[in-house]
């Protein structure tokens, strides 16, 4: 596997792991780092040995946000031509489940990266915030959209306007953190969760993600039409036959992702 400048990667037990690796800079995200993350996610998405993607950050923070030095002198035309947020659009197209394991600061772009995950496991003491407003700007990689869809307009406005630090317990009570675990066990628990998903039939997992995501963008009627097509589609899979036969025969199914 090729070497990356700002991330570390490895695949084990059907789990494709991506670790942000700028611990001294609290994993501040630069453009190259995002490119690397997206590149690896896309390769994992095509890799049969990967069923679940696990994204985490090395050191005491998941990510303290974007690398400010890199953008302080940008102008609108340069940003338009650079089109850096296109990489973030590609993140939304990943079909396999993405588990985020976060600790410490989850700020700005780091928060947006966390919100791009499907499931978030967070360490006790993790703090989420959009501090962009204090620099005279605003979130640009989906923060105002994703957070609003998760917690509603009223809270999203308060949090993004005020740059308030949201404690992990509050994050969980508002539904964007699935589980809170002790910091020492973050990796172990996130891997346990990833493994549990990796043991399920991959095609069903994939089409569940596809359908649930449609609930965000579609009307209920359209979403339900979409859901049933995916439901029908799974009946053409071997895993559906295996799953139902195993159920009838009272044995454990063996899923192959076919």
């Amino acid at each position: 596997m090729r070497e990356y400048a700002f991330i570390e990667t490895k695949v084990e037990d059907y789990i494709g792991i991506i670790e942000l690796n700028r611990p001294k800079q609290l994993n501040a995200l630069n453009r190259q780092m995002i490119k690397e993350i997206v590149q690896v996610m896309e390769s994992y998405d095509q890799d049969d040995t990967v069923r679940v993607i696990l994204l985490k950050g090395k050191g005491r923070a998941f990510s303290a946000g974007a690398d400010i030095d890199e953008m302080s002198n940008d102008d609108p035309i340069r940003l338009e031509l650079l089109n850096q947020f296109q990489d973030w659009d590609r993140l939304s197209l990943i079909k396999k489940p993405i588990i985020g394991a976060v600790q410490g600061f989850v700020l700005g772009g780091g928060f947006e990266l966390a919100l791009s995950c499907d499931v978030l496991i967070a360490a006790e003491g993790a703090e989420f915030s959009f501090p962009e407003v204090n620099l005279g700007v605003m979130p640009g990689a989906g923060g105002t959209q994703r957070l609003t869809k998760l917690v509603g307009r009223t809270l999203a406005l308060e949090w993004i306007w005020s740059a308030k630090r949201i404690q992990v317990e509050e994050a969980q009570s508002h539904g964007f953190v699935n589980r809170i675990v002790s910091g020492e066990l973050l990796e172990e628990e996130a891997l346990k969760f990833a493994k549990m998903i990796a043991e399920k039939p991959p095609l069903a997992i994939r089409l569940i993600k596809d359908s649930v995501n449609k609930a965000i963008d579609y009307s209920l009627y359209e979403g339900m039409q979409y859901e049933r097509k995916n439901f029908y589609l799974l009946f053409s899979s071997e895993d559906q036959k295996e799953g139902m036969n195993a159920f009838v025969e009272k044995r454990k199914p063996k899923f192959q992702g076919k």
Binding site: V181, S182, E184, L185, E188, E189
Partner: protein
């Protein structure tokens, strides 16, 4: 370095000595900041396995220095900016913290002692929840800690009457752990601190963490957390050493990890 406190570390013990003896170690903003900083520093320092907070001179701490308070003072902001960070730093520290109360602990000085894990008091020490005597309420977490220690009835009595509680009476109330005679004071505090500094530090930190969770979670949720905590403790070198020493019928030697 520090101007309002003395900070020294030896043999695994970090000593934070409030050092404004002519003001009976009353709090000024700088002292709040320095205690906060010192506790965080001790929490991070791998050599440190026990922290002692005590006072230079005849007082432990007489609370907020009223010379720093005037008609324009926003008492809420004074807490938010100076006392709350100090109390949070103490609560966040996963090493044992002893308040060695050498003399009077009044107002926020009482609160400081209450925020610690252990309270050793000299026979000359006394405690006063003095806030009500100037028309204020106990702060810096005082009511939270006090009501947990002595229950609501006694917490109300201590806070509303604002009377001086001698060390022996504080012991009977369950506010402190022990009273130490003046002539053996220094020696007994050192022995107690040194005993804690040789214990499995990580386990002590976890006991503190899970005690807080135990106070705040329903039993089912707590039992799940407890399993996590024991998993963490079970992974420590000290847990392995503890079992090994037990099997080999010898005294364990803990390294705090």
């Amino acid at each position: 370095m520090f101007t309002t406190i003395n900070y020294e570390c030896h043999e695994g013990i970090s000593w934070i000595k409030l050092n404004r003896p002519d003001k009976l170690n009353a709090f000024i903003a700088e002292m709040n900041r320095e205690i906060t900083h010192a506790v965080r520093q001790a929490a991070k320092d791998e050599e440190v396995r026990c922290i002692v907070i005590t006072g230079e001179g005849r007082a432990f701490c007489s609370g907020q220095d009223l010379a720093e308070v005037n008609d324009d003072t926003n008492h809420g902001d004074l807490l938010r900016n100076h006392y709350t960070p100090m109390v949070k730093a103490i609560m966040a520290c996963e090493k044992p913290i002893i308040a060695a109360v050498n003399g009077v602990a009044a107002g926020a000085g009482f609160s400081l002692a209450l925020a610690c894990d252990f309270r050793l008091a000299s026979e000359k020490a006394s405690f006063i929840n003095a806030f009500v005597n100037i028309g204020l309420i106990p702060d810096s977490g005082n009511l939270h800690f006090l009501s947990h220690l002595v229950g609501r009835a006694k917490a109300i009595e201590i806070s509303v009457l604002g009377e001086k509680i001698p060390a022996q009476k504080a012991l009977e109330l369950g506010v402190i752990n022990r009273v130490i005679p003046q002539d053996t004071w220094q020696k007994e505090v050192e022995e107690f601190a040194s005993k804690l500094a040789k214990m499995p530090t990580k386990a002590i930190g976890l006991i503190k963490r899970y005690l807080t969770l135990a106070e705040n979670l329903p039993l089912d949720a707590y039992l799940e957390k407890e399993a996590e905590g024991q998993r963490i403790a079970g992974l420590t070198k000290d847990a392995k050493e503890g079992v090994q020493a037990f099997i080999e019928k010898r005294q364990p030697e803990y390294i705090g990890q």
